[in-house]
């Protein structure tokens, strides 16, 4: 007859809570999770915090978003895509919207963006704009990018032709 007071091999409940019933399996799970997070958030969906007013009202300062770095593996960037453009490295990036594609001419007439002289329909523009600018032609592999907040003075709004190699991905949300 077994002794009721004999010590059992069951681990302490705190240890079970911290490491699971099978610590080796828990360790493997943690490693897989860590590697997956590293790969996903470093190479696929890069988390960013938006700072600045140039994409108002679509994106506001303090919002968290992700850059989908796989978005342009199968096709080239498209008109209307909000994209991130790298500077010297990944710490700071410009966030803009593509309005002009390679070979196209972009101008602003009475606040409206024109592509090859034809006004562009931009439902995401909510703020008033009075820009008038001479046409700019995008070369091969160049995309014209601009923010959604066109109520800013043209001179203070960072915009222009970006090389394809600088566009690192499309905004996820």
């Amino acid at each position: 007859m077994p002794n009721a007071t004999a010590p059992t091999n069951r681990p302490h409940w705190l240890r079970v809570l911290a490491f699971g019933r099978r610590p080796k399996a828990t360790l493997v799970r943690i490693l897989v999770l860590g590697v997956s997070c590293f790969v996903v958030f470093r190479f696929c969906l890069v988390p960013i915090r938006i700072d600045g007013i140039s994409m108002l009202p679509t994106y506001r300062t303090g919002q968290i978003n992700f850059i989908n770095r796989l978005a342009y593996l199968r096709h080239e960037p498209r008109r209307g895509d909000p994209v991130s453009i790298r500077l010297a490295g990944p710490s700071v990036m410009f966030m803009k919207r593509i309005i002009g594609l390679p070979g196209e001419t972009v101008s602003f007439q009475n606040g409206r963006a024109c592509i090859n002289g034809h006004p562009l329909d931009e439902p995401y523009i909510k703020l008033p704009c009075d820009w008038n600018r001479e046409p700019v032609q995008c070369g091969p592999g160049q995309f014209y990018v601009v923010g959604d907040n066109r109520s800013m003075a043209f001179e203070h709004h960072t915009q222009g032709r970006a090389e394809r190699a600088r566009i690192i991905g499309k905004l996820l949300l």
Binding site: I85, L87, A88, F94, V136, R161
Partner: protein, 173 residues
């Protein structure tokens, strides 16, 4: 056991020796990075800094450049400017330091590339500039050219890299 102890001791001594070597004979890349950190610190000041302290900072800033240095920069709202010579850089810095209440400069994503000529090096980085305690800030991609003069790495040229080019297409005549 004694062999293992000796091996560990040998590895520790080798590690210490390597560390001391890098401290006393730092690589050019390390020296350039340290100089950039010092440059950012010199070019930054707070609202509490006295006019004399700012003047000294402007003087120290000029010491980072070669006598024939050229600084060309472009910024939204300011346009493009070129400063030639350490003295003009010092005068412009002194005027700028007195007209602003505070300035914070940070260099991010620094990439140092040593040229084939061991006396020159090229550095790409993103500069983050906050003026007058504003929450809003400007970012610029910059290209620095360093020159080794009398054993010291000095800045010979600074240019703004046009991440986004927006110059109008010239009209056919």
């Amino acid at each position: 056991m004694r062999i293992i102890f000796r091996l560990v001791l040998l590895a520790a001594v080798a590690g210490l020796g390597y560390w001391l070597w890098t401290v006393f004979f730092p690589s050019p890349e390390k020296v350039i990075r340290a100089r950039l950190t010092e440059l950012a610190r010199t070019a930054s000041f707070g609202s509490g800094d006295s006019p004399i302290a700012r003047g000294l900072k402007a003087q120290r800033l000029a010491n980072h450049f070669t006598p024939d240095a050229q600084l060309s920069f472009e910024a939204p709202g300011i346009g493009s400017r070129t400063l030639t010579g350490a003295e003009e850089i010092r005068q412009t810095a002194a005027a700028g330091f007195h007209s602003l209440s505070s300035l914070r400069i940070k260099f991010l994503d620094v990439t140092v590339q040593l040229d084939a000529d061991p006396r020159t090096a090229e550095v790409r980085l993103t500069a983050e500039i906050r003026a007058d305690g504003s929450e809003d800030y400007g970012v610029q991609e910059l290209l620095f050219k360093f020159q080794r003069v009398d054993g010291k790495w000095l800045i010979n040229r600074v240019e703004t890299v046009r991440t986004l080019s927006r110059a109008a297409t010239p009209r056919p005549s």
